[in-house]
């Protein structure tokens, strides 16, 4: 939910997992040899069973008229009614539109920003300066969602600094956060994502660019290649596989991230443009009108889309770069 997954941690090499495949042998022998290890694992297994697998089982609620007082075993089964309600509800289409629009912005502009920043930083050879810029650009990453959205509301309020700045370019002074017109909230959300993530996201690309063989650059320079050529013909192709992996990873996770900022920023007047699957699911469970069944159905729909995207992007990643997410 609110967790930010360190992207790199879940990238893995196919080959490696194959090497570590267990040797053949009887299970009995294995248990005799490794029984203590398995016992050690019990707390970890329990954690995942209770807080990750039990909720999956809880998805059965989406086929029920769930009442907390009667629990999952006592509530009435109503088949696909929750899904029918979800898909035919008037909010569903707009929620789907908002989710897709913000996901798309996140995957394009939001994805490109750290790559471009990394190229700029690597292209400049005053390392003390670029290092300072880098460190400073990490700072927003450590700012909490609550604080980021508070800052955004303040800077974009009718007397906020950004609103004043925008008014120089002819935009009317207004409370931008409350603007219900179509691209405004989407752009604000993307802008916040970029502000928070651009520096942090660039780390991995900067490291990759630093790894490009400098002899290649020297040889190219000897042959008269200018900076621009070297950037496009050497640096960019070398980090392209990484860019593809990161993009597929992001496609896989785009439906899973960053909804808590929207939850903090949106208001009834902007539901029309700001409501996404996550916030809709949340509101159906913890808002004014509680409908756990519908909320779980929406959550399941979201989870299925997320999983599909993850599997597809994983496949793409394997095809293009032989690296996989899972």
């Amino acid at each position: 939910m609110t967790t930010s997954i360190p992207n790199k941690a879940i990238l893995s090499h196919r080959k490696k997992t194959e090497i570590s495949n267990p040797k053949k042998g009887s299970w009995k022998k294995d248990f005799k040899r490794n029984g203590k290890l398995y016992l050690l694992f019990i707390p970890v297994a329990l954690y995942f069973l209770i807080f990750h697998y039990a909720p999956m089982f809880g998805l059965l609620m989406s086929f029920q008229e769930f009442r907390p007082s009667r629990g999952i075993f006592g509530s009435d089964w109503i088949g696909f009614q929750n899904f029918v309600d979800l898909f035919t509800g008037e909010t569903f289409l707009r929620v789907l539109r908002n989710t897709s629009a913000m996901a798309l912005l996140n995957l394009t502009v939001g994805f490109a920003a750290p790559v471009i920043l990394a190229m700029f930083i690597s292209e400049l050879h005053y390392k003390k300066y670029t290092r300072s810029v880098q460190i400073v650009s990490y700072m927003p990453y450590f700012v909490s969602a609550v604080v980021v959205t508070t800052l955004a509301s303040e800077f974009l309020s009718s007397s906020g600094a950004l609103t004043m700045f925008l008014s120089w370019f002819g935009f009317e002074k207004q409370n931008w956060i409350a603007n219900p017109n179509i691209p405004v909230f989407w752009l604000i959300n993307t802008f916040i994502e970029i502000w928070q993530g651009v520096g942090w996201g660039s780390i991995i690309y900067i490291a990759a660019i630093a790894n490009v063989n400098s002899e290649l650059h020297e040889a190219a320079a000897m042959d008269g290649a200018n900076r621009w050529h070297r950037l496009w013909k050497i640096t960019f192709p070398t980090i392209l596989p990484l860019i593809i992996v990161m993009l597929t990873l992001r496609i896989g996770l785009v439906f899973r991230m960053g909804f808590d900022k929207i939850l903090l920023l949106y208001m009834p007047t902007t539901y029309n443009v700001a409501d996404v699957l996550h916030t809709y699911t949340y509101r159906m469970a913890f808002g004014q009108t509680v409908n756990y069944g519908l909320s779980t159905a929406s959550g399941l729909f979201q989870s299925v889309i997320g999983t599909t995207l993850l599997l597809v992007s994983n496949k793409l990643s394997r095809k293009f770069s032989n690296r996989t997410l899972i």
Binding site: T2, P6, K8, A9, K16, P22, W27, N34, L37, Y38, L40, F41, P43, V44, A45, F48, I50, F51, H52, Y53, A54, P55, M56, G58, L59, M61, P68, F120, L124, I135, P140, F142, V143, S144, A145, V146, V147, T150, F155, S159, A161, M164, G199, I204, A207, A208, A210, N211, A221, R227, P241, D260, L264, Y282, Y292, S295, G299, S303, T307, L310
Partner: protein, 303 residues
């Protein structure tokens, strides 16, 4: 890991610098762009810091950026926080949650990482068992129901246990343990060391920087978390973390002027709390930054 080190060495050995006018112009443009990026990153934070030191009433009437404290510099807001038991309690709660999450997550990550890095017959299925949780999730509501049925809703445990680790961190620790040379483990086994001893005393010191990366990440997540608290302890304010107090203060400041006798230093509180909740992390992260960067860059280097 080697990438950053190598990168630095390469830079020292010097890359090819051309001094054509065009190249210099490009450099200037890049310097300006990067300066703007740095300014954009730092200005909002600076604004909050300066606002927290301003005069409440003048600040309230002020619009736009606060580049220097407005009016007489004062720390009334901070004083109010010290008098306000709630926010101090929120601070304490946040610290409890951070320590709890990090400690519990650390134990689970190390145990899980160790067990799954050993070559066993059940290792493959167990890995799948962990990785599958990245692939598919139950979502907010079913998790809430689970936590509820464990009778953890309304207690501190609901903010410590459910999110103390995740598959990504665990996988990172598996890789860390896999990278420890097998000879040291064999040697320890010869000396009759048990699993716990091998895990904590032999292997962990050799891959501690990875454990640190997971711990720091987990710590940041826990420090900044607000959502879990808002659903698990919505009304029990004595259990609120400081982030939830920020949300509350900002919301109550929206109708600030409706108060019969507005105390303008109250208006300052929100800035002061933001400073107190944000700047500790900003002060501390440079200490960890090299290791965190290494952790981030790991995948890139292996590729």
């Amino acid at each position: 890991m080697a990438a950053l080190r190598m990168g630095r060495r390469k830079i020292k050995s010097g890359m090819i610098e051309e001094k054509t006018p065009l190249s210099i112009a490009v450099d200037v443009v890049l310097i300006i762009i990067l300066l703007l990026v740095a300014l954009a990153s730092i200005i909002p934070l600076w604004h909050v810091l300066m606002a927290s030191l301003s005069d409440g009433q003048l600040l309230f009437a002020h619009s736009g950026l606060v580049s220097l404290p407005i009016g007489k510099i004062n720390i009334d807001g901070y004083k109010l926080i010290l008098q306000n038991g709630n926010i101090l309690l929120g601070y304490m709660n946040t610290i409890v949650y951070v320590v709890g999450n990090v400690a519990l997550g650390f134990v689970l990550n190390v145990i899980g990482g160790y067990v799954l890095s050993r070559k066993t017959k059940l290792g493959g299925p167990l890995r799948l068992f962990v990785v599958f949780t990245i692939l598919f999730t139950g979502g907010v509501v079913p998790l809430y129901m689970v936590v509820r049925s464990l009778e953890m809703v309304g207690t501190r445990w609901s903010l410590i246990i459910p999110h103390c680790t995740n598959a990504a961190f665990l996988i990172m620790m598996i890789k860390a343990f896999e990278n420890v040379p097998e000879e040291t483990v064999e040697a320890a086994k010869m000396d009759g060391a048990g699993h716990l001893r091998i895990m904590f005393q032999v292997m962990l010191p050799q891959c501690f920087s990875f454990a640190l990366v997971t711990m720091v990440n987990q710590g940041i997540i826990a420090w900044n978390a607000w959502f879990s608290a808002s659903i698990y302890v919505p009304t029990n304010k004595s259990l609120w973390p400081v982030q939830l107090w920020i949300r509350e203060l900002v919301a109550s400041n929206r109708d600030f002027l409706n108060w019969t006798n507005p105390d303008y230093s109250r208006f300052l509180i929100q800035y002061c709390v933001i400073v107190l909740a944000t700047f500790p992390l900003l002060m501390m992260f440079p200490l960890f930054i090299r290791r965190l960067e290494k952790g981030m860059a790991l995948g890139a280097v292996k590729g």
